[in-house]
Each structure stands twice: as structure tokens, then as C-alpha cells.
């Protein structure tokens, strides 16, 4: 029992910090400075990072209780993304400490909501069954809905929160429907079992069950496309990123996206890893490729016309969703004749980390110019930033160059890794996608450069006043420094990311893949899972139920 508590310690730490800040916040006098709760929350994320580091050598973590091992899967992939989320949470929390008072929204609830949303994200990337997945998604989303409208006296923030909430609820409903379809067809709820049923369960033909499963897959993909802001499910993104407080937009851009991508990758690559979902007209590979192309072009072309830093970053976030989606199409792992599973390389994980650092810094700068209740992040508000605040301008430049993918930044290594992984595929199917991505990088150069132009080369329109804050400085410095360091010496991080990507296949379907080593630790969970035969009977029951008029 104690061991299991230690094993899920990252989640417990974040929960504890969230509860503590809520409790303390309730007794703190109104109007007093709440930033110290931010330090506490940041410290909590650091502690969670330490716990993740401690767990890393013990992956995949073997839980004794089946209820825990069925619900959560602490493999290298999940832990790596948990770490990325914790870093994103830490950076954006540090940003908020003096930014919120400057925005006249310094309430203690902010920090507990951040903690709870991070808890949801951490569960989301480690969810091992569809129900945990759904609940984690809701925990994350509801906290973020509130955060988006956290500056409650601002109509923009209210609009952002409403928009995000309504569209987000719609996406949740889609997800739930998709889960219901998949469960109805397979009779299984944990991801490995679902994969097993699809591979061996002989979903009966003629009853249209395959179609139902397929529909479920498409619905789940659509729901996640909302969360990761892939075009054409992106409509909420610019308004919400612009209206929400900058520190919240930062959290949404980095951590929410990382979490949603983690869950999407896990579901698609393991649950729907079977050939029937990967080949054919409406395979998820096709859908992901289409989403990627539409997101890249949509995001980049629309960003060209934007004159507001937050909106540019929002559209660039859409474009980056496109680049990251390409990573899902990396070469499939070699499998035995029965089951082909896609294996991620290092690309997805590393790119998400690079993206987290760059966007945390960029939104950090957007927060820094929000002194004196200024909500505006359009050109005049940071024009000539370099004259008075050279350090901020340099950080902004580094983050923008990383987003653009210029060498000596983490973003370049991320793009390089994703592109080479996709090109590595023996069939070379997605060369066209890589070339489109490169063309998009060229388009994006224009609006990223505009940011540098405004910050460095335009004269000051009005004296740029910034939030003076030491934690904000730490956050920006850390993000910028890590961006450059990861650009220069990415080797060890790449190896970690690689291990994380590969672990997906090994951990989710132990023993099924010829080439992959049998994962001893995961065996109890598979022993507890229904045998294929059982699944088959369950299936027949389900089929009869569906067939019944």
C-alpha cells in the first residue's frame, strides 16, 4: 500500500498542493498578496518532477492492485509527458505570481485550479482505460474553463471562458459517445484489452460492428482535435488565447496541448493500432494527415494577418499542432504478422518539450507587458521593447526562433527529429507531408519575424511598462536557457524521449509483438484482463444487443 502511494506520488503531490492552496486561500484575508501560494504551487511541481525522476528507473511501474494497474499506466512515455507538463505548469505558475496582481485578479483559487488542471493532465497522459481518460480530461478541462475566465471583470475573459466551455463540452460529449461505441463493440474498457480484441477478437462482420468501432475512433479523434486545437476544430483558439489572462493562455498552449497529445497518441497508437484502423479510406492515418495539413496551412496563413502577439501565438499554436500531428505518422514498429503497432520515436515527446519551453517564454513575455491592468498585446503595446527591456526582447526572440525552428534552439532539433522519423519509414509514404511542413515553416518565418521586427526595430509607440517580477524573470530565463541548451546538446534528452516513445508499444500490449521484449511487469494486468475468448463472448452479446431492433 505504502509502495503504491509512493508510486503515484507525483499525482498525490499535485493533489495535496491543490487542496492546501484552496484551504489556505479560503482563510487568507481578501486583498492580500496571494503570490506566495504561487511559490508553493511551483514548489509542488518541482517536487512532482523529483518524484517522476525517482520513478523513471522503475518504469513501467508495476502496481499491485488491479484497480490501479487497470486505470493508470506509468510507463516511460507517460512519465516523460508528466515531466513536460510539470515543467510547463511550473513556468506558467511563476509567470502568474506578479502578473495576476497587475491584472487585478489576484485570487488564491488560481493556484489550486492550476494544480487540479495539472493533476488532470498527468492522469490523462497515463490513463490506461477509457473511463480514466474521460475523467482526467474533464478534471483538466473544467479547471481550465474557470481559469480562462479568471479575470472576471474583463468581458474578453468572460467571452473566452464561455466559448471554451461550450465548445469544450461539445468535444467532451463527442469523446464520451466515441468511448461508448468502442466499449459497445469490444466489451473492453482498458486500452490493452481493446487492442487485443481488435487484433484477435474477430469482430463479426456483417453486423456493421466494424463500422461502429470505426465511428467511435473518429469521434475520439475529433474530440481530441478540439483539445489540441487542430484545424478545422480550432475556432475557439484565437479568441480564448487572446481573452484569457496571458499566464492561463500559456498554460493552455503548453500543458493542455501536451496532455491531449499524449492521450491521443496513446489511444491511437495502441488501442487503434490495428491495421483495420490504419489502412483504408477513413483510417486514422489519413485523417491525421489531413488534420495536419489543414492545421499547418490554416494556422500559418491566418497568423500572417494578425497584429496581436497573443493571437499570433494562438494561430502559431494551431500550426504547431499540425507539425506535431506528423509525428504520429512516424514509421510503424516491426511486429509479428498479427498486429502492427505504430511506435513513436523521440519526435513527439521532444517536440512537445521544445514547444512547451518556447511557448511558456513567449506567453511569459505577453504577461510581462501586461502591467497596469493592460490586456492588450497588440503591436503598439510591445513596439520597441528592446529599448527599455533588452532581456525581455532577447527571450522573445529566442522563443520565436525556436518556434520557427532555427538551429541552436530546441525547436530545430524537434523539427529535425520529427522529419527524419517520418522520412525513415521504409515506404516513404509521407515525404509529401514533410515537404508541406517545410513550406509551412517558410510561411511562418514571415509572422515570427514580424514579432522580432516589432520588438527590436520599430520605435516605441508609448513607453513599454512591464510587470517587475523576479519569478517571472526566473521563468523566462529558465525557458530561454533550456531552449538554447536543448538546441546545442540535445543528446541525452533525445535518448530519454526515444525511450519514452518506444515504451508505448512495449507496455500496452505485452508479449504480442515478436520483436519486442515481453514486459514482465505488465503481466498481472493482462492476466486480469479478459481472455480473447471471453472478449469474444462479450462481443457476441454486444452484437446481439446491437442487432436487436
Amino acid at each position: 500500500m505504502l509502495l503504491e502511494l509512493l508510486q503515484i506520488s507525483p499525482l498525490l503531490i499535485v493533489t495535496f498542493v491543490g487542496l492546501l492552496t484552496m484551504l489556505v486561500g479560503a482563510f487568507a484575508p481578501a486583498g492580500s498578496f496571494k503570490g506566495w501560494l504561487g511559490y508553493l504551487t511551483g514548489f509542488g511541481f518541482l517536487a512532482a518532477l523529483v518524484a517522476i525522476w525517482w520513478l523513471w528507473d522503475r518504469t513501467p511501474v508495476a502496481f499491485e492492485s488491479p484497480w490501479l494497474s487497470n486505470a493508470l499506466r506509468f510507463d516511460a512515455f507517460g512519465l516523460a509527458l508528466m515531466a513536460v507538463i510539470a515543467v510547463g505548469g511550473l513556468l506558467t505558475t511563476l509567470t502568474a505570481i506578479h502578473y495576476l496582481p497587475a491584472q487585478r485578479s489576484d485570487h488564491a483559487e488560481y493556484y489550486s485550479l492550476v494544480s487540479f488542471s495539472v493533476l488532470g493532465m498527468m492522469c490523462l497522459v497515463t490513463a490506461n482505460d477509457l473511463l480514466t481518460l474521460f475523467i482526467a480530461l474533464e478534471v483538466m478541462s473544467i479547471a481550465v474553463y474557470i481559469l480562462a475566465g479568471f479575470k472576471r471583470q474583463s468581458p474578453y475573459a468572460i467571452e473566452a471562458a464561455m466559448k471554451y466551455f461550450i465548445l469544450g463540452s461539445f468535444a467532451s460529449a463527442l469523446l464520451l459517445l466515441g468511448i461508448a461505441f468502442v466499449w459497445g463493440v469490444t466489451g473492453a474498457i482498458t486500452l490493452p484489452d481493446i487492442a487485443r480484441v481488435f487484433a484477435f477478437g474477430n469482430v463479426e462482420e456483417g453486423l456493421g460492428l466494424e463500422g461502429v468501432a470505426h465511428l467511435g475512433m473518429v469521434l475520439i479523434l475529433g474530440a481530441f482535435a478540439f483539445k489540441i486545437a487542430a484545424a478545422p476544430f480550432h475556432m475557439w483558439t484565437p479568441d480564448v488565447y487572446e481573452g484569457a489572462p496571458a499566464s492561463v493562455s500559456g498554460l493552455m498552449a503548453v500543458a493542455v496541448k501536451t496532455a491531449a497529445f499524449g492521450a491521443l497518441a496513446r489511444v491511437l497508437l495502441t488501442c487503434f493500432g490495428d491495421d483495420q484502423f490504419r489502412e483504408g479510406a477513413a483510417s486514422w492515418e489519413t485523417l491525421v494527415a489531413i488534420l495536419a495539413v489543414v492545421s499547418m496551412f490554416g494556422g500559418n496563413l491566418m497568423a500572417l494577418a494578425q497584429k496581436n502577439l497573443k493571437r499570433v501565438l494562438a494561430y502559431s499554436a494551431i500550426a504547431h499542432t499540425g507539425y506535431i500531428l506528423i509525428a504520429l505518422l512516424a514509421a510503424p514498429a516491426v511486429a509479428d504478422g498479427t498486429l502492427t503497432l505504430n511506435a513513436l520515436g523521440a519526435g513527439l515527446v521532444f517536440y512537445l518539450l521544445a514547444y512547451t519551453l518556447a511557448n511558456a517564454a513567449a506567453f511569459g513575455v505577453a504577461a510581462a507587458i501586461g502591467a497596469n491592468d493592460n490586456e492588450d498585446a497588440s503591436d503598439p503595446s510591445y513596439s520597441g521593447l528592446a529599448y527599455r527591456h533588452p532581456a525581455l526582447a532577447v527571450v522573445l526572440t529566442i522563443s520565436v526562433l525556436s518556434l520557427l525552428g532555427i538551429p541552436v534552439t530546441a525547436g530545430f532539433i524537434g523539427k529535425l527529429t520529427i522529419f527524419s522519423e517520418v522520412l525513415q519509414s521504409p515506404t516513404g509514404d509521407y515525404l509529401w507531408l514533410v515537404i508541406l511542413a517545410v513550406i509551412n515553416s517558410i510561411i511562418s518565418a514571415y509572422y515570427y519575424l514580424r514579432i522580432i521586427v516589432v520588438a527590436f526595430m520599430k520605435p516605441e509607440v508609448q513607453p513599454v511598462e512591464t510587470v517587475t517580477s523576479r519569478p517571472l524573470g526566473w521563468s523566462l530565463g529558465l525557458a530561454a536557457a533550456l531552449t538554447v541548451i536543448l538546441g546545442l546538446i540535445p543528446s541525452s534528452t533525445l535518448e530519454v524521449a526515444h525511450e519514452a516513445g518506444r515504451s508505448l508499444v512495449h507496455s500496452t500490449t505485452p508479449g504480442l509483438i515478436g520483436a519486442a521484449p515481453v514486459d514482465k511487469a505488465a503481466l498481472p494486468s493482462s492476466a486480469a484482463a479478459p481472455r480473447p475468448v471471453e472478449a469474444e463472448t462479450a462481443l457476441k452479446d454486444a452484437a446481439q444487443e446491437v442487432a436487436r431492433p
Binding site: 523521440a346 532555427i406 527524419s420 514571415y446 526595430m457 543528446s491 535518448e495
Partner: protein, 553 residues
């Protein structure tokens, strides 16, 4: 320092000389960041001292260079990103040696020369220049493709800021245009780099040289690489960013752009496009020949029509780099050596021209030819220096320009293009002769526009009273220009000192690639290809070394 000298002087003597050269300017930039922003003199002094130190440190390259060794010298290889197969690999050979020295030589001169031109944000300027120097040296010494790409892209950012912050009126347009143009080329090159990496298993230049590529692969990859290089050169019709960038850039930016950055394109052709994709180079060389000759003539004609001195010099760059490209496609010992020498010459003469234009601009704040006239009587020293540099740019014998252009033209004329050397290939050989003749007229046109400009600016009556007040050159400006003037004559009189160091490397390059290029349009091969297109996949053309290796095994 003396204790180090013997080790530094020997190639690979245990001291990572090239790494030191790449890193020193970066460390200097870091140092500058800690000096308070208002101490402008300190920034100028420290940055000039650091770049001077880098020049001093680069001298062992010259003294210790083994002219008989065709391969890389001072080789360094340290694991870097092992997960991607990229290493920190550096090396120098006869092709890159002089361009590296040109870089380390020009940078301190530029930093000293821009003392009076750059008075705002001096610290940022100096940091930019030092980072740029580091990136340029890195690009030239990298023998790992990813490392090369990294430095190649890194050159962009400081240059972008240099034009965008310290540039002229229309600087934002110019700098964004510059960046977008170059980024278009280099990102497509990135796809090529990744493809080569997947084929070769590492980014190491030697490994990549050893892989066999089919003719089709070579075509596509060459397209990706050559576009990046052609934009940088700039080869006609990719040159339109250059006049804008040159005109809007501050003097320092123009000098570094003309002096070194443009050479990266031609260097890229020699180092990568030619040896890695000889078949494609053969296929494309008639096209490149035509484009470079069009560039020579077009650049000269447009330069003739310019009202702005700086724009005139910018277009003359298009013309001069056409000659360099001509020498590269001619692909014989004389022409290629001429091309490399011409890169250096262009860096020196055009660099000096931009410096001189900058000096007069500081005094009169105009660059229009019509605003000058009769300066010869007012500023005799300035006039003399301008004349020397003009003559060098035209290619007068005893100056450097003559040697380079003469070698390129005679080499091309005597041997033609390797691709069309086979007899009975229709009108191709005649085309080459025609093109060489046209290119030669470029030399004449060069004299026409340069001398016309010179006459209008320096001779005739003084038409503007303000010109009477113009002061002649001061000591600092003379100090900056004197080394350049000396070099103009030194190269013109003793070209062999420079050429001798290139012989081995150029010969090896030509030995490797020329036979392959030569057979590209070989009749039999064309026929075989016609048949192959029907039946079999592409013929693999093995680079010579790979064949030799196979035989040895």
C-alpha cells in the same frame, strides 16, 4: 603564446585550433553582454580586440597549412548529438582556407571602420558582429552536414538584425526580404540533409561522400541544395534580395555581406553540390552556365543604370559572382582556382568599395551620384584609394581582379564545359564559346559602369557647395583601408602564394567529379538511359572513391 606556437603551427597538433576560432568570438560576445550598455568605447575596443585576436589565432592556419595534402587538415571530431548521428567535426582544406582567413581578416577591419557610423545600440551591434563571425567561420570549417546547416542558419539571425536595426530608411522591407529568401532555400536544403543522413547513417561529410545515389535522387537533392546556394550567391534570377539588402544595410553589413556571406553560396557549390551530386551538376551545368553569364551581363547593365553608388556596387556584385559561378561549372584546375581566388578578390575589392562609399556617406549623407562631382580636388587621398579599388574591381592587370577573371575566362575558354566536351553533341560546344565571349564583354561593361561612376563623382566641376566642405580621410579610416589596398596589389603581383595552397584540394575535387560530370551527356550513356527508362531503374553512378574502395576490398 610562444610555447603554443609550435603546436598551433602543425596540423592536428593536439590543439583544437578550429574550435578555438569558432568559440572565441562567441565568448567575446558573451563578455560584451556584461559590460554596461553606455560604455560605447569599451564595447568597440573589446570587440575589435577580440576579432583581432581571432585573426591572430587564424594565422597558424596559413603558416602550418600543408599544401600537398588534398584532404582536410586540423581535423577535429568530437561526439555531439549521438542520438541523431551528428558530430562536432571540423576541418580545413585548400578550398576553405582563404575564405576563413578573409573572414577573420575583414571582421576587425569592419568593427574599427564602423566606429563613427554606428553610434546607437553599440553593444548589440558588436555582439551581433561577433556572433556573425563565429557563425561564418563555423560554416566554413564544419565537415558535418548538420553542423554546417546549424552554422549556415545561424548566420542569418545576426545579419537580419544588422540590416533591420542599423539599416537605412527602407530597412524593414529589405531585411524581411533577405530573411525570407534565404530561409526558403535553406529549409528545403534541410530536407535534403535529412535524406542524405538517412542514406548514409550519419551526418559525416566523408560518409555522405561515400554513398551511391541514383541519378534521380541526385537531381532532387541537387535541386534542394543548389537552390539554397544559388539564392545566397546570388545567381540570376534569385538575386533580387541582394540590391535591397545591400542598399539598406549599414556599411558594416554591406561589407560582411559582400565580403563573406555571398561566398557561402559559391563555397557551398564547391564543397557540397559538386562533389555530392556530380551527375546532377553535369546535367545542370549548361543551365548554370547560362544563368551565370546572364547574371554577369545583366548585373553589369543594371549597375550602369543606377543613380545610387551603393546600389551600383551591389549590382556589380551580381556580375562578379557570375564569374565565380562560371569558373565553378567550367570545372578545370585553372577555372576553379580562379573562381576561389575571385571569391577572395571580390570580398576585398567590393568590401573596400562599400567601406569607401560608407565613408563618403558619413560626410554628406547621400549616396546619389548626382550629388557629387569634382571630389578629386577636394579629397585627393580618398580619390586615390577609390581609384585603386575601382581599378581592382574592373580587373586591371597588377591588381587582384585581373588574375581571378583571367583565370576563370581562360580556363573556361580553353577547356569548355566538361559536359559538352564530347564531340558531336550538336550546338552545345558552340554555346559554351558564345557564353564565354559574352562573359568577357562583362569585363568591358564592368569598366564602363565603374569608370562612368568614378568620372561623375570625382571629376568635373563641383556642383554642390556642400561638397567643398568634405574632409579627406582620417587616420582611422586609412588604417582600415590600407591593409585592403595592400592585399589588392599583393594578390595581383604574387597570385601564386595564394594559388599554391589550393592546388592539391582543387585537383582532388576535379579528379573526383570531372569524369562523372563528363560522361553525363555522353552519347552512349544517354542511349542507355533511354533504354533504362523503359526497362530498368536508374543507373547508379558510383563516385570514384567508392569504386576504388570496393576494388581495394
Amino acid at each position: 603564446m610562444e610555447a603554443l606556437a609550435p603546436t598551433l603551427a602543425t596540423p592536428g597538433g593536439g590543439i583544437a585550433l578550429l574550435t578555438i576560432l569558432v568559440v572565441t568570438p562567441l565568448l567575446g560576445a558573451l563578455l560584451l553582454a556584461f559590460i554596461p550598455g553606455d560604455q560605447k568605447t569599451a564595447h568597440r575596443g573589446v570587440s575589435a580586440a577580440i576579432s583581432g585576436l581571432v585573426f591572430f589565432l587564424s594565422l597558424p592556419l596559413l603558416t602550418g597549412f600543408d599544401a600537398t595534402e588534398p584532404g582536410f587538415q586540423w581535423v577535429e571530431a568530437v561526439p555531439w548529438i549521438s542520438a541523431l548521428g551528428a558530430d562536432w567535426r571540423l576541418g580545413v582544406d585548400g578550398i576553405s582556407l582563404w575564405i576563413i582567413l578573409l573572414t577573420t581578416f575583414l571582421t576587425p577591419l569592419i568593427l574599427i571602420g564602423s566606429t563613427s557610423a554606428i553610434t546607437e545600440r553599440v553593444r548589440e551591434f558588436c555582439i551581433n558582429m561577433l556572433i556573425l563571425e563565429s557563425a561564418m567561420i563555423g560554416t566554413l570549417v564544419a565537415t558535418d552536414l548538420l553542423l554546417f546547416y546549424l552554422f549556415w542558419e545561424l548566420m542569418l539571425i545576426p545579419m537580419y538584425l544588422l540590416i533591420g536595426i542599423w539599416g537605412g530608411k527602407n530597412r524593414l522591407y529589405a531585411t524581411v526580404k533577405f530573411f525570407i529568401y534565404t530561409v526558403v532555400g535553406s529549409l528545403l536544403m534541410l530536407v535534403g540533409v535529412i535524406y542524405l543522413r538517412l542514406q548514409a547513417g550519419s551526418f559525416d561529410y566523408a560518409d555522405i561522400l561515400a554513398i551511391e545515389l541514383t541519378a534521380t535522387e541526385q537531381m532532387w537533392l541537387f535541386g534542394a541544395f543548389a537552390l539554397a546556394f544559388a539564392i545566397k550567391v546570388p545567381l540570376f534570377p534569385f538575386h533580387t534580395w541582394l540590391p535591397d539588402a545591400h542598399t539598406e544595410a549599414p556599411t558594416a553589413g554591406s561589407v560582411i555581406l559582400a565580403g563573406v556571406l555571398l561566398k557561402m553560396g559559391t563555397y557551398g557549390f564547391l564543397r557540397f553540390a559538386l562533389p555530392l551530386f556530380p551527375v546532377a551538376m553535369g546535367e545542370f551545368s549548361p543551365l548554370i552556365l547560362i544563368l551565370s553569364v546572364v547574371g554577369i551581363v545583366y548585373g553589369a547593365l543594371v549597375a550602369f543604370a543606377q543613380q545610387d553608388i551603393k546600389k551600383l556596387v551591389a549590382y556589380s556584385s551580381v556580375s562578379h559572382l557570375g564569374f565565380v559561378m562560371l569558373g565553378i561549372v567550367a570545372l578545370n584546375q585553372t577555372a576553379v582556382e580562379g573562381a576561389i581566388l575571385q571569391m577572395i578578390n571580390h570580398g576585398i575589392s567590393t568590401g573596400a568599395l562599400f567601406l569607401l562609399v560608407g565613408i563618403i556617406y558619413e560626410r554628406r549623407h547621400t549616396r546619389l551620384i548626382a550629388h557629387y562631382g569634382g571630389l578629386a580636388a577636394i579629397t585627393p587621398v580618398f580619390t586615390t584609394l577609390f581609384l585603386i579599388v575601382t581599378l581592382s574591381s574592373i580587373g586591371l592587370p597588377t591588381t587582384n581582379g585581373f588574375i581571378g577573371e583571367f583565370m576563370i575566362l581562360s580556363g573556361t575558354f580553353a577547356e569548355g564545359l566538361p559536359v559538352v566536351r564530347e564531340l558531336g553533341l550538336g550546338s552545345w560546344p558552340k554555346l559554351v564559346v558564345l557564353m564565354t565571349v559574352l562573359a568577357t564583354t562583362g569585363v568591358v561593361l564592368g569598366a564602363v559602369y565603374m569608370l562612368t561612376m568614378f568620372r561623375k563623382v570625382f571629376f568635373g566641376p563641383v556642383t554642390h557647395e556642400a561638397n567643398l566642405e568634405v574632409k579627406d580621410m582620417n587616420g582611422r579610416e586609412l588604417l582600415v583601408l590600407a591593409p585592403l589596398i595592400l592585399l589588392i596589389f599583393f594578390i595581383g603581383l604574387f597570385p601564386n602564394f595564394f594559388l599554391s595552397k589550393m592546388h592539391a584540394s582543387v585537383a582532388a575535387l576535379i579528379d573526383r567529379t570531372e569524369p562523372i560530370v563528363e560522361q553525363v551527356r555522353d552519347r552512349e550513356r544517354l542511349e542507355r538511359r533511354g533504354m533504362a527508362a523503359d526497362a530498368a531503374p536508374d543507373i547508379r553512378v558510383a563516385p570514384r572513391r567508392a569504386v576504388a574502395d570496393a576494388q581495394a576490398r
